[in-house]
């Protein structure tokens, strides 16, 4: 009977491996959960610190935040930048992606990859000086429009890339069918292509918002007055009189800062569900 002990050893080994795996996952999970735990506990603590501890419950931090002249206004600024960028990239991106998907352009794929590669340059550190000079020259310095345009330039290539893939998966027969009934290109786009590509558009919108929401450098440089700054930049100015980071303000503000993005995610996910395919069986 040599089979049973061998099988027993195998089961034991499987068990040990399983336990070690779970332990390792717990450690990794803990590592990622810690900052989140900080985010949901410290805003409600009377004396927030950089460590996670059971809070001494209070809403004091939020009333301090409400009294700060720049804090809530900056969230509004962030929303303006985010929604503005979404409007620009979804409109231009879907038009460009549709055209690139349907018209044979020589060197189309090369063009797309080049754009994708260069897009990090537009919003990258290296381009800041020319970008600043450009904005001064065009009079768009210190305007939300300027920042929206610059951010859109950085986000658009990726958006076109994703949407083109989406539109490639829509069978041409839908459009041809509409065309036969006399629909013009604009009508085909509105009645057929956009509704079918809607999950892709929703995904792109959320993704663009996330990109804009956390962007620090671009608005920091292009917006000169504190009234115009978005939340990501304003957070940087929260100091106490002694020059220490003001943790009661920062912790409460961090929570408020993260809410719109999370809300947008749930809204879009519920309405469209993040389907990364065209959603059509042909």
């Amino acid at each position: 009977m040599t089979v049973a002990p061998a099988a027993g050893r195998r089961t034991a080994r499987k068990f040990v491996v399983r336990v070690l795996f779970v332990l390792a996952m717990v450690v990794v999970g803990f590592f990622f959960a810690l900052p989140l735990a900080w985010l949901v506990t410290q805003p409600f603590d009377a004396t927030p610190t950089m460590t996670v501890s059971w809070p001494d419950w209070t809403l004091e931090n939020f009333s301090v935040l409400a009294e700060n002249p720049y804090a809530l206004r900056s969230i509004g600024n962030s929303l303006v930048l985010g929604l503005g960028t979404i409007a620009v990239v979804v409109t231009l991106g879907s038009l460009a992606a549709y055209a690139l998907s349907r018209v044979r352009v020589p060197g189309r794929d090369g063009l797309l990859y080049a754009l994708l590669l260069l897009s990090s340059v537009v919003t990258g550190t290296a381009a800041m000086v020319p970008l600043f000079q450009l904005m001064v020259a065009t009079g768009l310095i210190n305007t939300q429009t300027g920042v929206v345009l610059a951010l859109s330039g950085g986000v658009l290539p990726t958006v076109i890339f994703i949407l083109k893939d989406f539109m490639d998966s829509i069978p041409k027969s839908y459009e041809e069918s509409a065309r036969l009934y006399g629909a013009r290109p604009g009508q085909i786009l509105r009645h057929v292509v956009v509704p079918i590509a809607r999950p892709g558009l929703a995904f792109v919108a959320v993704w663009a918002l996330v990109q804009v929401w956390g962007n620090f450098l671009l608005p920091y440089i292009l917006l000169r007055s504190p009234e115009a700054q978005p939340a990501a930049v304003i957070m940087y100015t929260f100091y106490t009189e002694s020059g220490q980071a003001d943790l009661s303000l920062i912790s409460a503000f961090s929570l408020v800062f993260s809410v719109p993005v999370i809300l947008m995610y749930f809204l879009v996910n519920r309405r469209y569900g993040f389907r990364f395919h065209g959603g059509i069986k042909s």
Partner: protein, 354 residues
């Protein structure tokens, strides 16, 4: 008045490939017309050129007495049912059917009303609120037909109308299509690669190959008197027997025997020919017959009420369809009898019928 006339129609793709190469067809008003051929023969390209989805390179196209060679698809008075039906997945059945009316700026309640009445005419009553994904293949096809018919087109185009249906539904849909076409009396052109479908549905068939027309005729003409060996072998659910042989003593040498010369053909003795006879038109006799082909049965295949028998005569393989009660068994010897009325001779050089 002809409904569709093409004159030396050419569709050339970038790179010089000709999808349609000089086609002249005249389709009569109210006709049910089939474009038949193997894949890549240009039949779908021709259909799409009529629809206006492919730009015509050369030649002219008339629908009715209007020249529509360069007209926009929407201005041609044609409707088309696509192979995948192309129903808009985000609209319900009624909105799908009403879409062409929406483009024509018909008021919303009027067009819904019209859509529902057309849908009822096509056995789609009670389904108008469903999405295409909630319908069976046959229902989807009827919605696509309803959408096409609701526009009251001069010409109805169907691209492989039955190919997306499973075998059982296909027969049902075939009868349905033929009934619908007869009731509407609309000129209909359909594309198929299935010869049985073309024979069953069409008033006339155009057989195509490599962008060129091979033959236009009624199903009976195409079946009984194919103009060349290509049409002969393409038509028929069991392919025509085609045997390279020669004429000797006023008969055609086939295998170890001979077959009578077809009616109305008198080639010189010794000339090379291709002899053709459909399996359905050959007879099997266990007793010796004059002017027949002695052969041995090698394979039998059951076709239901009949049997497909493959026989060998020397090195020559022949197939014939035998009624079930006369079916031989493999190894039997007998005689294959051809009729002068139902056999054909082709020129081996040009492959044309003599």
């Amino acid at each position: 008045m002809a409904a569709i006339t093409t004159n030396a129609l050419v569709k050339e793709y970038p790179g010089g490939v000709r999808g349609v190469d000089g086609v002249d067809v005249t389709i009569a008003h109210g006709e049910f017309f089939a474009l038949l051929g193997p894949s890549g023969c240009g039949k779908t390209t021709l259909l799409r050129s009529i629809a206006g989805l492919e730009a015509i390179t050369e030649g002219t196209l008339h629908i009715g007495d209007r020249d529509v060679t360069h007209a926009e698809p929407g201005e041609r008075g044609v409707a088309m049912v696509f192979q995948d039906y192309a129903l808009f997945p985000h609209m319900d059945v009624a909105d799908n059917i009403a879409y062409p009316l929406k483009i024509r700026k018909v008021r919303r309640d009027t067009r819904r009303e019209k859509a529902v009445s057309v849908a009822e005419g096509l056995a789609l009553g009670g389904l108008s609120e469903r999405r295409p994904a909630q319908l069976s293949g046959g229902q989807q096809q009827r919605v696509a037909l309803a959408r096409a018919v609701a526009t009251e087109p001069e010409v109805l185009l169907l691209d492989e109308p039955l190919s997306n249906l499973d075998a059982r539904l296909r027969l049902e849909a075939r009868t349905f299509l033929k009934e619908l076409q007869r009731d509407l009396g609309v000129t209909t052109v359909f594309v198929t690669h299935d010869q049985a479908e073309a024979l069953a549905l069409a008033d006339r068939i155009a057989v195509m190959r490599s962008g060129r027309l091979q033959q236009i005729g009624t199903p009976q003409e195409i079946f009984q008197r194919p103009v060349n060996t290509f049409v002969a072998s393409f038509i028929g659910s069991t392919p025509m027997n085609l045997v390279e042989s020669e004429v000797r003593d006023g008969a055609v040498r086939v295998g170890e025997g001979s077959a009578p010369l077809p009616d109305g053909v008198t080639p010189a003795d010794g000339s090379a020919v291709v002899w053709g006879a459909r399996p359905e038109y050959l007879r099997w006799s266990p007793e010796p017959v004059a002017h027949a082909i002695p052969a041995e049965v090698s394979v039998i295949e059951n076709l239901g009420a009949a049997t497909l028998v493959t026989v060998l005569s020397g090195d020559t393989r022949l197939q014939l369809v035998v009624p079930e009660e006369q079916a031989p068994v493999p190894g039997d010897r007998g005689w294959v009898e051809a009729s002068a009325r139902r056999s054909l001779l082709f020129d081996p050089e040009t492959t044309e019928r003599m």
